[in-house]
Amino acid sequence: MEGLEVVLVNSEKDPVIHNSGSKIKDNNKMVTVVAHGNPKLIVDDKNGRNITTGKAMDNMLTKESDVWKNRESNEGMTIVLYACRVGCDLSDKDGKFIDESLAQKLSSSEEFKGVEIIAPDERTWFNSENVLGTYQASKQHSNGNYKYKRDADGKIIRDKDGKPIRKDGSRSDKTGNWKVFKNGEETKSYQGDWKPSNTPSWWENLTKKNK
């Protein structure tokens, strides 16, 4: 069946994420979305649009996912967002709260009433074959932004390719959390190395669910 997973990254620009994102297992009650993102938005690279509202998300899913389009109702549906930090509140670099996360906003929208939304509060990491989970980067500010090398004037130093040089942007071993939202509320959360599912086993609930 088409439309179980929705991969919004470009296969040529992001081959690693596209490849492993396309292998994520779904079912007819769970739609997964793989995309670039941050606490404020998801990038729909396919349609050139940033998704910041329930309406925009609903539109995109209706276009890209047969499972979503043909659902009988919202009840029992789960959306898993494999996009960096979309389950993390927007905050300044000292960690002071600015706004609710995108996932929580989507969850409180009319379009996603009754839908379970699972989203990471740290970066989502992939290798060429798998999703590894949500983990902190080795060097990051308390709001999750990377720390960068800077020159004497405080400007970020770029490498020869023009990319900003991170102090250490690699994956750390510190897991984030997969947060589960429903009707605008966080209902539960799981450790970052959990494989998100709409039907977690008793073992996953015992070993991966946060108390």
């Binding site: 670039h36 349609n47 023009g162």
Partner: protein, 167 residues
Amino acid sequence: MKNLYLVILLFNFLLLTNCNKNQKKSISTNQIDSSNSADLVNLAINYGDTDAYDKLSIEYMDSPYSDFLEISRQMANKHEYKAAYMDVFYCLTNYYQNKDENLFKELDNNQKNMAIKYLELAAKKGEVNSLELLSKFYAEGKDLTRNIELSKNLLKKRDSILGNVSN
């Protein structure tokens, strides 16, 4: 006893396989795949390579976005790339770190005018996010003079670009 050895052997094999899997190079969704590394800024600004520019834009999503301003401004002015016009707006307003209602809060008049100018240029080029945001600003009438007709027209233009979107 033989069975015990076999079990231990199997356990070690599984452990090693799992370790190898996790040791493979990993990237996060906002990190560009640099296997085809090239001078992205050079490709973008001097050759108008939009793929190179898009990669940089994603890479900068997690940074203080203001540092991307000069690159996006040059890409917009030199190559009239619609996404770059929008990025100039994002950089000036610190969009990723701000609520929409506070985007102009810390800007002086010159900066605000420049941000709106680039937002309008992006909209003229048919950049869908700019059409949506500009429509919202015209509807609210807080940062731009209220103009409901224009607001509706901007959304119509966005919808025609996206195809059958009704909100």
